[in-house]
Amino acid sequence: MSRRRAQGGRALALLALASPCARAFYIPGAFPNAFARNVTLRVRVNSLTSDEAELRHDFYSLPFCRPPGGPKKVAENLGELLAGDRIATSAYAARLAAPGDAPPADDPPALLCQMRLTADDADELRRRIDENYRVQMLLDTLPVRHAADCAHDSASHSLTAARLTPNR
């Protein structure tokens, strides 16, 4: 009798898979996403982090540019929510240009938005800078890394003007 049950179960599973409504999907980040030329890559933002003031703040709590139509929250699992991740869409995007046909080095940058700071905005920004908050961005689930971090000891947090390196 158990053999029949197993066969019945198998048949049911096959039927379910063969049904046109069945769609399998890969967990984001578990399978490579291949992008063709000119596909728009959109950067996502996460909440701000600080190793000193451990609280996470929403990216859009600071006066940053909002994408057209407003930022949209991205669905997260329980663990991410508890850890303070608040992933949302951002206005930073670009069309993928294959490395072979890259634009010349002095290609002018794009303007995202302009804004005027209110007194509250300025206070908030100053507070976050004092607490060494960092902006977290994601592209294809990969977090952004600060190029200068790789060469400098991250123990000293204040980035003075002298440490900015010119574009290569």
Partner: protein, 579 residues
Amino acid sequence: MTTSELLPDGGRGEVTTGFPVGFKAPAASHDAPAHGHSHPASEYYINNHLTFRVLLHRAEAGLPRQPSLAAAAGVGDASVLNVPTPHDHEKDEDPGWLVVGFEVEPCSVAREALGGLPPYDASSDREAASDAPRLSHAVRCAPGGAHARIAAGETLAFTYSFRFEASPIPWNQRWDAYLNAGGDSEVHWFSIFNSMLLVLALGALIALILARAVRRDLLTLELGAGLEAGGDANSRTVGEDAGWKLLRSDAFRAPEAADWLAVGAGSGAQVLCVTFATAVLGALGFASPASRGALLTTALLLYPLSAGAAGYVAVRALAWAHAGAGPPGGPPGAAAAAAVAAGWRTAALRTASLLPGFAAASATAVNIAVRFSGGEASGAVPFSLFSALFALWFLVSLPLALIGGYTASRQPPPSPPCRCCSAIARHVPPGAPSLAWTALAGGALPFGAAFVELHFALGALWQQRAYYAPGFALLALLLAAALAAESAAVLTYAALNAEEHRWWWRAFVAGGAPALYAAAYVTMYAAVGPLNLTGFAAVAMYSLYSATVLAAAFCAGGALGLAASLALVNYLFAQSKGD
């Protein structure tokens, strides 16, 4: 340039993600003070210009590609779920590109240095346009240049550019740069391995000593070599003066607050189930850095599901605690059965509520601390999440704990090898090691096995350092658990030899003592270690969350210690039943 070339070569550079919001610098002379205010000593500048560098690796032919998915779903989002469709491969030959690196060079550039800016329009304040207009010329990001100042009324322009570069890093190694803890990661693994071997050797040695001592005791018993009752009570030489043999009628005396001991044991069992299940899943590779929060989610979902085990263990512990009561010759286990029948519901409910209650109280206190220090922050637990967790607890934990407790209450009462004869407990001579010493001794070795992993875990939790060595974590946990059980058993044996028959709580404390060591370590990590917490809310968050986890660890270790000691005591008195 590739990501691997940017790795620090032997320096202390810790890999962290993201870039600073801005910086504070001495005010440059050409920054005119506003409205006649006195010239400030330093100014704040915001990183408003971002140069992204995306590292690309050629995809192999045959991978499902984004455009067809984008066309199907109508979006061009880069992180949308990848649905493989079979007819992708036949489309044009270009297999596409994979993103294997994402870096940024942030810059603060004053408005004057950005050429070709349209005039500021208040109606589109901080709204990005769908077509990003280009500036007139490239932005020079020089250290001495004018920076974008942060001041009320200042107009800021946010600009960015993307560079796409080829990279030899294959897709399955794209996370290596994030996980590499500096150039000396090999040294880390070697030192972990080293300390584990050392601890393992010590543990084996202690087990050997205990086994010999017990064997000698039992041999002495068999040969009929009696022991003067008034013998050298102060001597604690293992095996020579086996004081435990005098405790036949007291060893299974019910401990004080036996119902709380049962609750502790049950909570510990639950924590052990969750910890080891999560560690095993992590070691099997289910916790890749790409799937953020997967491990925490797993642990959070497994916790209520293992409440059944918690209830069961709690009620069984209660039965064992009362198993020795009652006169010898009387009905075996009557007292235990009575205690269980009367108390299993309370024990199960308390077990289900103890640690989750502690966690809920901590989270609430942290939320209050965050509100109090003037910030609505997403680090504290939002109410919706709180309610979801509460619902999970109420609908899953509580019923399962009661079911587990009921199942245990239906089990026949345990039969210990000896029972308590008299109502008055035997007098305990002075000379037994104090509880403090027991904790000190019991916690040392298991903590030694796991403290390196603790260091990495703290870095991952509080400093966004990536930690991806789940295999080592599992190994360290197994070793720590084995050593905690062993230490507790040894210390129980030592206490019994000193005629201290109140071994139940002692065993629990000895097993849970590594958590006390961990508490000291966690405190030192924040006080004098790499972590530098500022603000009341941050300190509150750190201490309360750490306290919750350490309480859970204490219960887990205690449950192990209690179980091991119970097994040892059972063995000793069962073997010596002959006389």
